[in-house]
Structure formats: C-alpha cells, structure tokens
C-alpha cells in the first residue's frame, strides 16, 4: 500500500507540473486566437484537474496529510466555467495565466 501511495503522490506532482505549464500554453493559445485548439486542450486540462482532485481524495482516505486547499481551486474553476460559457477568452486566458496557475504553484509547494 505504501508503494501505491508513493506512486500516487508522484503522479499527482507530475500532474501538477503539467497543469502549471499547460495553464500558460492554453492561455497563450486563447490570446493568439487559436480558440479551437485552446478549447480542445482545455478539456484535457480540466480532466487533469479532476484527476488531481481524485488523487488528493484517495491520499486523504489513506491517512496521508495533504496540505492542499482544494476550495481555492474550486473557486477559480467556477470563474473559469463562467468565462467559458460566455466565450470570454480574454477572461479565460487571464484566469489560466494569472489565477489558476498561482493556485497550482501554491499547491505544488505544499505537496
């Protein structure tokens, strides 16, 4: 079980690195007008966030102390959903580049 926890922690950290890098890349795609590609990548990005949530949940169930404030991320995600619904790509790029990325970096530091 300990080995599984270690592996899960490693996967979650890897997932965080990918998410942090993707935040900027997808934001740039939106800013450069590549909205179709950006939207496609955003689906994958949200799936990765979902995996991160799941990993944190499992780790906590296994009795691990994970010092992560998930609610911070949830709040930003709500803003992101709103921007997506109104196709406001200026706001979406801002959230990705300057809001969600900061939260993810903070999570990474505490992981």
């Amino acid at each position: 079980m300990e080995q599984q926890v270690i592996e899960l922690m490693a996967s979650a950290r890897e997932c965080l690195t990918i998410l942090i890098n993707d935040s900027s890349d997808i934001a740039k795609d939106f800013q450069a007008g590549n909205t179709v590609r950006a939207n496609q990548r955003l689906i994958e990005y949200i799936e990765n966030i979902s995996c991160l949530f799941k990993a944190v949940e499992i780790l906590r169930e296994q009795g691990q102390t994970v010092n992560v404030e998930i609610s911070l991320l949830q709040n930003v995600l709500l803003g992101m959903e709103e921007a997506m619904n109104s196709r406001d790509y200026v706001l979406l790029a801002d959230i990705l580049e300057y809001e969600i990325k900061d939260v993810l970096v903070e999570i990474q530091e505490n992981f």
Partner: protein, 576 residues
C-alpha cells in the same frame, strides 16, 4: 454601454465595458501589453492589410505595428466614439503618427470612403484580412460592421471594365438562350407539384462525408444540385434529379463540359451560359428572376409564354431554395452548404474550384459554425447566408433543415444530422424522374401548336438596336463637343448642345420601353456613373464631370449596342 478604465498590476490601464447586464474586459486585467503581444504574433501575416475591428485602448494595434513591415497597412475601425476618446486619453499618439495606420470611427463614412479609395489605389484591398479585437463580438454586431465594410469595398473593387464585360456576357446569354427558352417548359408548371422532401446539394467541403448517404437514397427525396456540385455528385455515381444553372460565365460551361449531365433535367435562367443550353439534350425548365420586371415581360412576350419567376439571389444555391419552395411543401434540407472555409477549404474534394483559404485572394471574416466553432468566410459567402436568412424570414416554414453541421449558421433552419433527416423524412420511394418528364411532356403537348416567329423577333430586335447605335453615336459626338467646350470655358452654343443631347435622351427613352434588354444596360451604366462622386468639387470641376459622365454613358452604350447587334447577326446567320 458604459466603460471604466482600471489600472492593472502591471501598471498599464485596461478597459472594462458594461453591456447588456454583463461586463467584459477588452484587454487583460493583469497584463494587457503581454496579452496584445501574443495576440499580434498569432494574427500578423506579411503583405496583408490588417483590418482591425475594435481599437480598445490601442494595445493590439500597437503590437501589430511593432512586427509589421514598413509597406504594410493597418485599418482600424472603432464602433464606439466613447472608446476612441478613452484611447486618446490613455495614449495612442504613436498610432496616430504612424503613416501605416488608418483609423476611423465606423459611423464616419465621410472619412472611411477616402481611406478605402487610398487602399484600393495602393492595391491593398486585394489581400486583406479582418480581425475582430477580443470581446468586441460581445459588444458590437460584428457581422453588420463587416458587411457594411464589405459593401463599401465591393463598390470600389469591381472596376468599370469588369462591370461592362459582365453586362456584355449577360446580354449575349439572354439573347442566345431565346431559341432554347422557346422550347423549354416554364417553372410555373412545377408549382406545388410535390409534397416529398428535397435535398439541396452544394459543393462545400462537408459534402464529401455525406456522399455515401446520398448514394443510398434511391429516389426517396428530390436531389437538386447547385452549380458545381453536379460534377462532384456525378463523379461519385450520384445522379441528381435536377441541376440548376444560372451562371453566365464560360467557366461554368467548362466545368460541366466533361461530365455527363446532358440528360438530367436542367432548371436554368436565361442568364446562364448559352453553351450549356446548346450542349444539354434533356428536359429544360426555364425561369426568370424577380427584380427585372422590364426584361421579364419583354422576354415572356418574345418566347410566347410566362416562364414564372424565382427570387433573385447572389448564388445558384439561393435559387435552388426558391425552386424547392415552389416545387414542394415537404421538408427541405441543405447539405454541403458550408458558406465558409470548412477545414480551411472552399469546396469539396475533387471540385475544380477547390481552394485553400490561405490561397484565396479575398478578405476573410470570422463566423460561427453550426457546431459553435469559429471559422472563416468571405464576403460573397456571408451575403449568400444573409440571403437565405432573409428569405426564410420572409417566407417562414418550420421544415427547412441544415445538415451542413460544420458550416456557417443559417438562422431559420433546423440543424440536423443528414442521417437523421433521411431517417425522419426520406422513407417513401417516389417516381421523381417520371413526374418531371411527364410535366415537361404535358407542357410540350399543350405548347406545340403555338408557332413562335423566331426570325421575325430577331429582325425586330435588329431594327431597334440599329436605331440605338445611330442615336448613341450622335449623342456620343455631341457630348465630346460639350466636354471640350466646358474645359475651355467656352459657353457659346452650349445650350444648343444640351438641347440636342436632351433630344437624343428622349429618343433613347422611347426605345427602352420597347426593349427591356436595353433598359437594363442603360441602368447598369447609370449605376456606374453614380460612383463618380462630385460632392466636394468646385463648380468648374462639377461641370467637367457632368460632361465626362455624358461622354462615358453614350460611348459605352454605343459600344454595347454594336456588340448586341453582332450577337443578333450571329444568331440570325446560325438560324435563330
């Protein structure tokens, strides 16, 4: 709309707008400079005129300028005066001082027209691309701005010679098609003939993926093929029930020349290339279009029956909808009607007209597709789409479907998967070919007893055109004399010259009532003359322009009349 300037954490101002209970930032609320830099790199292409709808606070335009060539230009159209003022307050001096930048309020037509003239003179409009600044699509009816711009462009981009050349083609086709029209069946005979579904096939890129379903349809719906879609269908073993042809250019004939369309019922307007009529041996169904009342009545008189009319539209697919409306009360479905560069291409694979959007020499505009994605379209395609929307709006039916899922949205149509349309509506087999043949044969039986004096018709036309040639020659010489006198400030005998010109006018006016065809040529030249602006000229220049217009009008009418006479002589030699 309300606006608010905010200072971002990068220190640069950004602009927030409040519009219809919502708020939008027109630039990043964290770092507008950085955002604009990324935006500009994503859009700029060397050698293109960048037309930017939306100035905002000027960040996007400034970043474009940084990477633009010295020879390139940027035309900025700002729809809101308030935003332009805010931009000036926050600083756009570097934009205003740069000779590559042309900035104009959308409503300021007086400023916009000369700008367009400059751009045309410098050959810029041949290669231009429209960009909509981020979030302007939320606060402005962008499509209307684009269409307004495009209309102004097209007034300037089609040169006078092209217009006259088109008029000549039009005239030639109308006359040479007379002998085929006389033996054709009128579209009126097809009114409310069917209740079954109709599928209008256009040659857009998305047609490719529907071909296999069309192959399996087997007369469970009427397939109407629009223009160049015919080649794609026949190459794939699909025989449409009807092909529609309106295009007067020789290219359309060449496009059809190598395919076996000759037996398929041909619905055509007399404007279409006469060689298509010549080559086609199957049932022919003739129609005329609305908006040409003088020609319509004259033509009906010449051929001896009322053809019936289809609403005039910018493209053959528009006519197809008019035909479908007239023929059936059943559901109508578009396929391949993309109205945009789906997958980056203009037409389906295998179509001779297929072009990449990167190779077309046209201004491209962003539009929204049926599936919500953004794609590019051009002016003529957008106008086609607008026509569909306005036609469906005027004659609403709830059974108009659009199965071109990746194509541009057409308001008033129900979006549907083609397979679903077939499942829902195309279940019953109908003897479509037989019904069409019977209708044409019935018409022929009724009409066969009526003798049309073709030779006499052409003789009368020749007499009329000779009178026009004579009158226009006289008027052309008179107007040249007038121009010379005006230029030399010589007022002597000017009144006499004007009187003689007025007499020539009267003579022509009396002829136009007899000959609808001539009336349209005159109308075309008058339209061209309207483009010669004289608003800002001095009295002397105004007089010169009036005399120049007169010269232009009569000279061109004279040339055109000679061409028409030659066509008539040819027809009579060939045996009408």
């Amino acid at each position: 709309m309300k606006t608010q300037i905010e200072t971002t954490r990068s220190g640069f101002p950004t602009l927030k707008v409040f519009y219809e209970d919502k708020e939008y930032y027109l630039h990043s609320k964290y770092n507008p400079l950085c955002e604009a830099e990324t935006w500009a790199k994503g859009f700029y292409k060397k050698g293109e005129l960048a037309i930017l709808i939306g100035l905002g606070l000027g960040y996007y335009a400034k970043e474009l300028l940084k990477i633009m060539d010295k020879e390139d230009r940027i035309l900025i159209i700002e729809p809101y005066e308030e935003i332009l003022n805010l931009a000036q307050e926050t600083g756009i001096k570097e934009l205003l001082d740069d000779s590559r930048v042309l900035l104009c309020l959308e409503s300021d037509k007086k400023k916009l027209e000369p700008i367009l003239r400059i751009l045309i003179q410098e050959q810029f409009l041949k290669n231009s691309k429209i960009f909509v600044a981020p979030n302007y699509d939320k606060i402005v009816a962008v499509e209307k701005v684009i269409l307004g711009l495009s209309k102004s462009f097209s007034n300037y981009t089609m040169d006078i010679n092209t217009k006259l050349l088109l008029a000549y083609d039009w005239q030639q086709n109308y006359l040479r098609n007379i002998k085929y029209a006389i033996r054709s069946c009128p579209i009126k005979s097809f009114e409310n003939l069917f209740t079954c579904p109709v599928i209008i096939v256009s040659a857009g890129p998305s047609l490719q993926k529907e071909l296999d379903k069309l192959q399996q349809l087997h007369s469970r719906a009427i397939i109407i093929s629009a223009g160049s879609a015919t080649a794609t269908l026949l190459k794939n073993g699909i025989k449409p029930h009807i092909i529609v042809s309106i295009d007067g250019h020789i290219d359309m004939f060449k496009h059809l020349q190598d395919i076996d369309y000759k037996e398929i019922p041909l619905f055509y307007s007399p404007t279409h290339h006469y060689k298509i009529s010549e080559q086609h041996t199957g049932p022919k169904i003739v129609f005329q279009t609305t908006g040409m009342q003088n020609v319509l009545e004259w033509y009906n008189e010449v051929i001896g029956f009322d053809t019936g009319v289809i609403p005039v539209g910018p493209s053959v697919a528009n006519y197809c909808l008019g035909i479908a409306y007239q023929m059936t009360s059943g559901p109508i479905c578009f396929i391949g009607q993309d109205l945009a560069y789906v997958g980056g291409f203009s037409h389906a694979e295998g179509n001779n007209n297929r072009m990449s959007k990167d190779d077309v020499n046209l201004a491209l505009y962003p539009v929204i597709s049926n599936d919500g994605s953004e794609l590019y379209s051009d002016y003529s395609l957008i106008v086609m789409g607008e026509w569909f929307e306005s036609y469906i709006g005027e004659y609403p039916r709830d059974n108009i479907y659009n199965a071109s899922l990746q194509g541009m949205k057409i308001k008033g149509t129900n979006v549907i998967e083609f397979e679903q349309f077939i499942d829902d509506f195309c279940q019953e087999k109908i003897e479509i070919e037989q019904i069409i043949l019977n209708t044409v044969e019935n018409w022929s039986k009724i009409h066969s007893g009526i003798e049309i004096p073709t030779n006499k018709i052409f003789e009368q036309l020749t007499v009329t055109i000779r009178k026009v040639i004579e009158t226009t020659k006289k008027a052309s010489d008179l107007s040249e004399k007038l121009l010379k006198k005006v230029k030399n400030h010589d007022d002597k005998d000017i009144n006499l010259l004007l009187k003689k010109l007025s007499d020539a006018d009267k003579k022509l006016l009396s002829l136009k009532n007899k000959d609808g065809l001539l009336f349209l040529i005159i109308q075309l030249i008058v339209d061209i003359l309207h483009l010669w602006d004289e608003e800002d000229d001095s009295e002397y220049l105004k007089r010169i322009k009036i005399a120049e217009k007169s010269c232009f009008f009569y000279k061109n009418l004279h040339t055109m009349s000679n061409s028409v006479k030659k066509i008539l002589d040819d027809i009579r030699t060939e045996g009408g």
